[in-house]
């Protein structure tokens, strides 16, 4: 004997009307045969039999209203029927309707109090992301001057020499030598198989890159600028960042997406956007945004070796800047570790990418006025090195965050929230943010300057929190 239960025809259906029986007692039915019609407030649907057998009883009359899901509606018997593993009868139906169903829903709503609560995620993220310190630079190491552009190129070249799974693809990366010359001479050394010019097709080649990564290669996908990667953001987030989780750990995407991010100079709103907060919102991604050449090189090498998808945000205005970089073999900077670039006792300033330079200049100005600022270069935005920030704030009792992007839901908003939650008692002034004004970036030189953070704006913010 098999009971046929009132089925749910949608994720939210709780009851329905049995409008019509298409079989009667004594009929023999086959799997797939339509046996009844059911109506909900949204639709009318057919009920198909799963088991074969003979209808021995119809438990709910035609026309019945408000029949609860999982109520037995008919009884079936059949010779040679397979013993059914499905829960049958009243108690079983309740299990299906109650316990089973709520289990399925559990992911959508708050967990009931009697369920064990999930482990609290550490602010550092999970395994593998516990930051280590920068490598020691041996005494007598020569420091050489290198542009950020060449540091990035050298990082790619070194990793391509080391691992033949690493390849670079993007628009104009090969024959043209890179739209910003970051991939200069890579084609000559590694050939067209590993330095791949793509059509102008961001969505397509980002997805292709993720597919190649899923198959075990280690692509470096260059976006001519991150502005164009909005065409590809679905593949970066839905495919690269989430598939490890959705596959229960089976499908890995070791891939670096890189390119210039943020405002260049007078290129207007569509070509000037800062995506720091966008990508740092997403679990499954690592987000890196270096300032100087040593970090650009060391972090890009770390990113290429990292088994996770990495969003690597460069800055066009930094490409041509020279910095000193230690002349050591295999210079690697750990992901997930901020760097204190200037020590100070009066205020903590956080910044990343080009804003670090502005913050350092502001600190010089402030020092002349007797205010010593501690500058933290975030370097990695996800996982964010909260410990280094908190340690500094507990010393200075004040924080000013600086970022090139908009304020709402920004990197600074996140840092201020964490500082307020975890160092509230140490604060002597409200956490304060410096960021782009809440408007698309203008083309006109004066308006552009008004919109973006500046040394003056940082100085003013620091004076406000130090009550000067």
């Amino acid at each position: 004997m098999t009971q046929i239960l009132m089925p749910a025809l949608s994720p939210t259906m709780e009851e329905g009307n049995l409008t019509k029986w298409l079989v009667k007692v004594g009929d023999t039915i086959e799997p797939g045969q339509v046996i009844a019609e059911i109506e909900t407030d949204k639709a009318t649907m057919e009920v198909e039999a799963v088991d074969e057998g003979t209808v021995t009883e119809l438990l709910v009359a035609e026309g019945a209203q408000g029949v609860k899901v999982n109520t037995p509606i008919a009884v079936l018997s059949g010779e040679g029927e397979q013993p059914s593993p499905l829960p049958r009868g009243e108690g079983a139906a309740q299990r299906a309707a109650g316990e089973g169903r709520s289990d399925v829903r559990m992911t959508e709503s708050a967990r009931p109090a009697d369920r064990p609560s999930p482990p609290t995620p550490s602010p550092q993220g999970r395994g593998g992301l516990i930051p280590q310190s920068d490598p020691e630079i041996p005494a007598n190491t020569q420091m050489i001057k290198v542009t950020v552009r060449d540091a990035l190129r050298d990082a790619m070249a070194e990793e391509m020499r080391r691992d033949d799974r690493v390849f670079v693809m993007g628009e104009e990366v090969a024959e043209y030598q890179g739209a910003y010359k970051v991939t200069r001479e890579l084609l000559q050394e590694f050939g067209a198989q590993r330095v791949v010019d793509t059509p102008i097709t961001e969505h397509g080649f980002a997805g292709l890159g993720v597919g190649a990564a899923m198959a075990g290669l280690k692509p470096i996908v260059e976006f001519m600028t991150w502005n164009f990667a909005m065409q590809a953001i679905d593949q970066i987030i839905n495919s690269a960042a989430k598939t490890l989780y959705m596959s229960g750990g089976q499908i890995k995407s070791s891939i670096v997406f890189r390119g210039p991010n943020g405002a260049a100079s007078r290129v207007a709103a569509q070509h000037s956007q800062d995506y720091s907060s966008w990508y740092s919102h997403v679990p499954g991604l690592i987000v890196v945004a270096p300032y100087d050449a040593a970090d650009a090189k060391g972090l890009l090498k770390a990113a290429i070796r990292n088994p996770n998808p990495v969003v690597f945000l460069e800055h066009e205005m930094l490409y041509g800047q020279e910095f000193e970089i230690p002349d050591v073999k295999d210079w690697i900077v750990p992901i997930g570790k901020a760097k204190v670039r200037r020590q100070g006792v009066d205020v903590t300033i956080t910044a990343h990418s080009r804003m670090v330079g502005l913050a350092l200049k502001a600190a010089d100005e402030l020092s002349k006025q007797g205010i010593e600022a501690e500058i933290i270069d975030l370097r990695t935005l996800r996982p964010l090195d909260t410990d280094t920030i908190l340690e500094s704030v507990r010393k200075t009792n004040r924080i000013v965050t600086v970022e090139e992007g908009w304020g709402q839901s920004g990197v600074g908003a996140e840092i201020c929230a964490r500082v307020t939650a975890e160092a509230f008692d140490y604060l002597d002034a409200p956490p304060t943010r410096v960021h782009q004004v809440d408007a698309p970036l203008a083309y006109a030189a004066n308006l552009e300057a008004l919109a973006l953070p500046s040394v003056e704006k940082i100085v003013d913010a620091v004076k406000a929190v130090t009550y000067r």
């Binding site: 239960l5 089925p7 749910a8 025809l9 994720p11 259906m13 799997p31 797939g32 949204k42 639709a43 649907m45 009920v47 397979q82 593993p85 829960p87 299906a96 309707a97 089973g100 169903r101 369920r115 609560s117 999930p118 482990p119 995620p121 993220g125 999970r126 395994g127 593998g128 992301l129 390849f167 793509t198 059509p199 097709t201 969505h203 397509g204 080649f205 997805g207 292709l208 597919g211 190649a212 990564a213 899923m214 198959a215 290669l217 679905d234 593949q235 839905n238 495919s239 598939t243 490890l244 989780y245 959705m246 596959s247 229960g248 089976q250 499908i251 499954g284 070796r305 088994p307 996770n308």
Partner: protein, 332 residues
């Protein structure tokens, strides 16, 4: 599961092959019927897209593959997984969101994978799998490993931009990929005539120099033959082909779709005259390869496998709460 042995075949199929196809297709149908039932009982949540009616496509294409060749598809994926040799238990337990599922309950109906069986998902964004599959083929060419990637999509995805971005690169670089558009004639509720300016989807590769072929997707042997031609071409380094499988889904787009956008007569006509399983059954009985009783016995075996999967899927425990925060990052 059925795999090609590399020998040349005529359009005929042997007794063993036909019986294998019958078995494989029946497993998908019975599995999907049971999945529909478990959904009705509230044991499967969210979205659930059934493959009933389209079984000949995946079973025929799988028969054209060699071990190691990859398969990737969108969210109507249960049939592809079973055809690729993934277990009914693992798939059904993922549908119920339990720890015994292929993604340990974290993916659900639309997101399952098996590296072992070279099945790369199971993707929920319409068209995304086409770029990803093209990337799998890129890796095959990069490594020169001789593998081919089957990349499936539906008639709905055929209007997504990244499909054509991928076509362009695959043809430009002669990647070993076979594109299979499963044209079941409805993109959710929109008939192809209402969504597509060119409804003969096998022509959609012409401007990329991708040859296309229309195939009777209800005839498993025809699918296999077209599949072999396309797979051999791709493996030989001649680039992609686009196979348009004319097929039909009997059920709604998902479980919650009453399918009022088409007539009952249309559905009944497909079931009565073009059913892919009845077709192969007729080939078998007409040739005297097996009797009705033999086939009933196969049906009983399949039912036992499916019943066991339903039991497993209900008895398998919920994922441990610790699973909430695993598989987000890989340890460096």
């Amino acid at each position: 599961m059925a795999k090609g042995n590399g020998k040349q075949h005529s359009a005929e199929a042997s007794k063993d092959e036909l019986l294998q196809y019958y078995r494989d297709m029946l497993l998908i149908r019975r599995f999907e019927e049971r999945a529909g039932q478990l959904y009705g009982m509230g044991l499967i949540g969210g979205f659930c897209h059934l493959y009933i009616g389209q079984e000949a496509v995946v079973v025929g294409m799988q028969a054209a593959l060699k071990d190691g060749d990859q398969v990737i598809t969108a969210y109507r994926d249960h049939g592809h997984m079973l055809a690729a040799g993934m277990t009914a238990n693992g798939v059904m337990a993922e549908l119920t969101g339990r720890s015994g599922g292929y993604s340990r309950g974290k993916g659900g109906s639309m997101h399952m994978f098996s590296i072992e069986k070279a099945f790369y998902g199971g993707h929920g964004i319409v068209g995304a799998q086409v770029s990803l599959g093209t990337g799998l083929a890129f890796a095959n060419k990069y490594r020169k490993d001789g593998k081919v990637c089957l990349t499936y999509f539906g008639d709905g995805a055929a209007n997504q931009g990244q499909v054509y971005e991928s076509f362009n690169m695959a043809a430009l670089w002669k990647l070993p990929v076979v594109y299979i558009v499963e044209n079941n004639q409805y993109a959710m509720g929109t008939a192809i005539q209402r969504s597509s300016s060119e409804t003969h989807l096998h022509k959609r590769g012409i401007s990329f120099n991708i040859p296309g072929e229309e195939v009777d997707g209800m005839d498993v042997v025809a699918v296999r033959e077209a599949g072999r031609r396309a797979v051999e071409r791709a493996r030989a380094g001649e680039g992609p082909m686009l196979l348009e499988m004319k097929t039909y889904r009997y059920r709604g787009h998902s479980m919650s779709d009453p399918a009022k956008y088409r007539t009952k007569e249309e559905v009944d006509d497909m079931k009565a005259k073009h059913d892919p399983i009845e077709h192969v059954k007729k080939l078998i009985t007409d040739a005297g390869h097996a009797t009705e009783d033999d086939l009933k016995a196969i049906d009983r075996e399949i039912r036992a496998i499916v019943s066991e999967s339903a039991t497993f899927a209900q008895e398998s425990p919920d994922p441990d709460p610790s699973e909430l925060m695993t598989d987000i990052y890989i340890e460096a």
